[in-house]
């Protein structure tokens, strides 16, 4: 008799996504995590039908600032990152009409000058892009003055947040 596989034993796979990275999965035992969202955005998409999802950690709104980087590391920017995220998730059988988009991050310092509003510009770039494709944000916690960590559970599609300075995790999106 062959021994049970790690998945059969309920092994929980924890995938950590760094700044300017993305990961997708259809493994129900996996949790995708991204730490330290400052003015960066964490963007998760999840198709509850086929239980496929992905998480992206973008740093800046517009890849035109460095086209070489956009090719080598598309997940650094909102525009190139969203394309890469959707493409890989759809490759795993998700459908664009079914996916739920959740967003966290985009923190802002106290500034009215507009010189330092990278968090806001990230969010604007995202919503514009989603609108252009007839998509909208399902749940979000964006802006404010905090640092956030974001988790996507592939089995349920639940998205949890850990906000800096607050002891408890919260649900951003619960199935």
């Amino acid at each position: 008799m062959t021994p049970p596989t790690a998945v059969e034993l309920g092994f929980e796979q924890k995938v950590v996504i760094g700044i300017a990275e993305l990961a997708v999965s259809n493994n129900a035992n996996a949790t995708l995590t991204t730490y330290s969202l400052g003015s960066c955005l964490g963007i998760s998409i999840y198709d509850p039908e086929v239980r496929v999802g992905g998480l992206l950690h973008v740093m800046l709104p517009d890849s035109r600032i460095d086209s070489g980087k956009a090719t080598a590391q598309p997940a650094m920017f909102v525009d190139s990152g969203i394309v890469a995220l959707f493409r890989t998730v759809l490759d795993l059988g998700a459908q664009k009409q079914r996916v739920q988009v959740c967003v966290a991050g985009g923190a802002q310092i106290m500034d009215n000058s507009g010189y330092f509003n990278i968090g806001k510009r990230n969010y604007e770039a995202l919503t514009k892009m989603l609108n252009d494709h007839g998509l909208s944000v399902h749940a979000e916690q964006v802006g404010g003055m905090v640092n956030r960590t974001m988790y996507l559970n592939l089995a349920t599609g639940d998205v949890r947040l850990k906000v800096s300075g607050q002891p408890q995790e919260i649900f951003l999106c619960k199935s």
Binding site: M59, I109, F116, G119
Partner: protein
């Protein structure tokens, strides 16, 4: 001023004085750097010597057979690397512990400080500024938080209230609730520890670089380094982003706003290599 010093005196757990750092910085800022003096200074501190040798022989730096000789370590790595290792060892000891009053977990203040210092150093390099001084001031900019953390532990709710309801910066909230704030305390500490006056002012006024005149340039480096660290996710604790925008920091250093996103990319890349070095200390 006297009240401030008294406040510092009442704090039970002051960070250890980084004795070697100001002396080493002074040695490196002389026109002719005397390697033998640097070797002597490091050798005088057994903990420091061990750390320097450990770093020299680590996979990250190792170039040949392991060495147990400080002089050879200094030769192999060069002054700039040695200085960074000394910074890592001295700074890490003070800045690594959790700061409960700020909602900062273990290692987070250190990560923030190193990221800020790397970002500020990148700008300094481009501007041809003295990198060691910029790196030092930025690395130690939040040292005052260590002193205030305990007093803030009981006032955490009120800090959040001041920030959210009254739109005070974290620094203003501290001043209102405690009568002192971390930047000022940090400046006082560094003065006690005999750091040069420009480093003292830059830390003291790192939330308002213009006020640091005549050291406004150094303060602007610290301010922007701090900002970039926050942006790329290395700013932690309650209301971590409750700091005022000071666009003059850009003009003081003759930088365009567009420089910031590029600096974020560069800092992020640089951190991947720097982490290997600074993991030694944390």
């Amino acid at each position: 001023m006297q009240e401030l010093d008294e406040f510092i005196n009442t704090v039970k757990q002051l960070p250890p004085a980084p004795k070697v750092l100001p002396e080493l910085l002074a040695l490196l800022n002389r026109p002719n750097i005397d390697a033998s003096k640097i070797v002597r200074l490091i050798s005088f501190d057994p903990g420091m010597s061990a750390a320097v040798l450990q770093a020299t022989n680590s996979a990250f730096f190792a170039t040949g057979s392991p060495t147990a000789d400080i002089q050879e370590a200094v030769q192999r790595l060069g002054f700039a690397q040695i200085y960074q290792i000394v910074c890592a060892v001295t700074g890490g000891k003070s800045l690594a512990p959790a700061q409960q009053g700020y909602g900062i977990d273990r290692g987070e203040l250190w990560k923030h400080s190193v990221t800020a210092a790397v970002a500020a150093q990148l700008i300094a390099r481009r501007k041809g500024e003295d990198e060691n001084t910029v790196f030092t001031a930025t690395l130690l900019h939040d040292i005052g938080k260590i002193v205030l953390s305990e007093a803030l532990t009981k006032k955490y709710d009120r800090v959040i209230e001041e920030v959210e309801k009254n739109q005070l910066s974290l620094q203003e909230a501290e001043k209102k609730l405690l009568g002192v704030e971390h930047a000022e305390i940090g400046g006082r500490l560094l003065a006690r520890w005999k750091f040069p006056s420009n480093v003292v002012s830059a830390v003291w006024f790192h939330h308002n670089p213009k006020a640091a005149a005549p050291s406004e340039k150094l303060a602007a480096y610290v301010y922007l380094g701090d900002l970039v660290a926050h942006f790329i996710g290395h700013g932690f604790g309650h209301a971590a982003f409750a700091m005022k925008g000071r666009s003059e920091a850009l003009s003081i250093l003759d930088l365009e706003a567009e420089a910031l996103p590029l600096l974020m990319i560069e800092t992020h890349q640089k951190m991947e290599t720097v982490n290997a070095l600074f993991a030694l200390a944390a």
